[in-house]
């Protein structure tokens, strides 16, 4: 079966709530006749989008624009690939499946995800992988990869899962982290990882480890394995070698059991 391909029929000027894509449709015709709001009127999906293909579990959105919000919101066992930019709440509270974005995302992308994988091959706005815009829970589980930069207040209250940021990260990021693993290859903004309880952060920014005690230089079976697994997930070789890693574990704040691996590129 061919994937369902959605393409805007004309340029839009109002925001569209795209969360209808996350519903479980029996077939593509049900999706076509779904009623959605646009401006102050209601339309069928097929009136705004041209729809091809029949595999409802694999959706491709072409010519996406940043007025399209909530793509992949609460997604469950569906794969969506988006070409172009997206609006707010991309993949918010996703449960399972795969979201791939070849473009940039606005705020709240991947916020509060509970499973699945999100790949953003562009930049992402504030609250990326953070708390949802109506709740207080960050990433519960899942996988987030961002090739570009992400904004402020990102990856707050993370509980589980894996986040890889190839670019820079904004201010107030990774605060109140409960657990999980984060790799940040770029620069880090101010106020980082405050109130962290557990979890692992890989970074090259030395200011992060100011309050930590240097651990040991022993070999880490875990890192070798972890980078191989992550490389498989993102289909790209992760750069780190054990010899370039220094582990910091033990914080001046005794309730902080998190660890930081400092790396040199």
């Amino acid at each position: 079966m061919n994937p369902v391909i959605l393409k805007l029929k004309k340029k839009i000027k109002y925001r569209i709530d795209m969360s209808f894509l996350s519903n479980a449709y029996k077939d593509a015709s049900k999706l076509s006749s779904q009623i959605i709001s646009y401006g102050n009127k209601q339309f069928k999906v097929k009136e705004l989008f041209s729809i091809k293909g029949s595999d409802i579990k694999n959706i491709i959105i072409k010519s996406s624009v940043d007025l399209m919000d909530n793509i992949g919101k609460g997604l469950n066992n569906i794969n969506i690939t988006v070409h172009g930019n997206v609006g707010y709440s991309f993949g918010e509270q996703m449960l399972s499946g795969k979201l791939i974005l070849y473009g940039n995302a606005l705020d709240y992308a991947a916020s509060g995800i509970k499973g699945g994988s999100i790949f953003i091959y562009g930049n992402s706005g504030d609250y990326t992988g953070g708390k949802t815009n109506h709740g207080n829970i960050g990433i519960v589980d899942g996988f987030l990869y961002v090739k570009g930069n992400i904004g402020n207040n990102s990856i707050e209250r993370m509980r589980r899962g894996n986040v890889i940021i190839e670019g820079n990260i904004g201010d107030y990021a990774c605060n109140d982290m409960l657990s999980g693993t984060i790799i940040i290859k770029g620069k880090i903004g101010k106020i980082f990882a405050e109130g962290m309880k557990r979890g692992t952060i890989f970074t090259k920014d030395k200011k992060v480890v100011k309050e930590y005690a240097r651990s040991n230089d022993a070999e880490y079976n875990f890192t070798k394995f972890y980078f191989k697994e992550i490389s498989n997930v993102i289909s790209k070789k992760i750069f780190l070698e054990n010899k370039n890693l220094i582990r910091y574990y033990g914080n001046t704040n005794s309730s902080n059991l998190s660890e930081v691996f400092l790396f040199k590129l």
């Binding site: 022993a218 875990f222 394995f225 972890y226 697994e229 660890e259």
Partner: protein, 298 residues
Amino acid sequence: MIYNGIKIDNTFAEAFNMKASRIIVTADNLKWAKHACDSFTGFATSVIACGIEAGIEKQLKSSETPDNRPGYSILLFSMSRSQLEKQLEVRVGQCILTCPTTAIFSGMVGEDVIPLGKNLRYFGDGYQISKKIQDRRFWRIPVMDGEFLCEESTARVSAIGGGNFLVLSTNRKSCLSACETAINAIKNQPNIITPFPGGVVRSGSKVGSKYKALIASTNDAFCPTLKSITKSTLPANVNCVMEIVINGLTFDDINEAIKTSIQSISKMKIKKDIVAISAGNYGGKLGQYHFHLRKVMK
């Protein structure tokens, strides 16, 4: 039936339903991975008294393991799920965790999961760290050489244990040599193990005993020293019998292994000393799987 100069008896091997699991053990080098695996699979020859039957399935290159280090895959077989869980936990705790530089991973994917490091993590005394990658969870347990990395659970599948054949020979030297050749021929075959020492058994057993406390006793019908006083099945010129027991994940795996083994024996120069190839069974009433030697060798 004569197969390439060797007589194949018209009999069958009787095998049983078992539960199996596969684990992958890695270490900084093969030497320490082997130490761990030898220790793990030691005293795991027969479910009669060992709880499980286990053996090294194959050696793995660095590129074949989850953490890019050399290692081995081990197959474990047990009659029940609870025994498999118990033995796996105890053996990983005492033999793999204790061995320097090792790590352990699940070697199988399936819906029926059994704990691997799930309970072992408490050895970390609160300092253990959990890592979840996609749907798999791992535990990092601090130990004196760094960290012991173990996967939380592994899968369990239905399997077959007790596939076998007997080598009947005129002398012990030829019999042992034939068995060694057979074991060498199947040592790289995936999905099977030969759990006994060196893959060969000399104490084939029958069900029951004249002593009430024993559930199994010597298979007197195949003991050359008892030929003259018991109802022996051995021809007059047989002076030594050895058995190769093969456990496998599927019927075809065992079938293939038996065939390859007998073929390798039939190519040996000493095959003139091999009187026949036979098989062990219990009349066909106990085991769910029957490997008819003549069908296998067709």
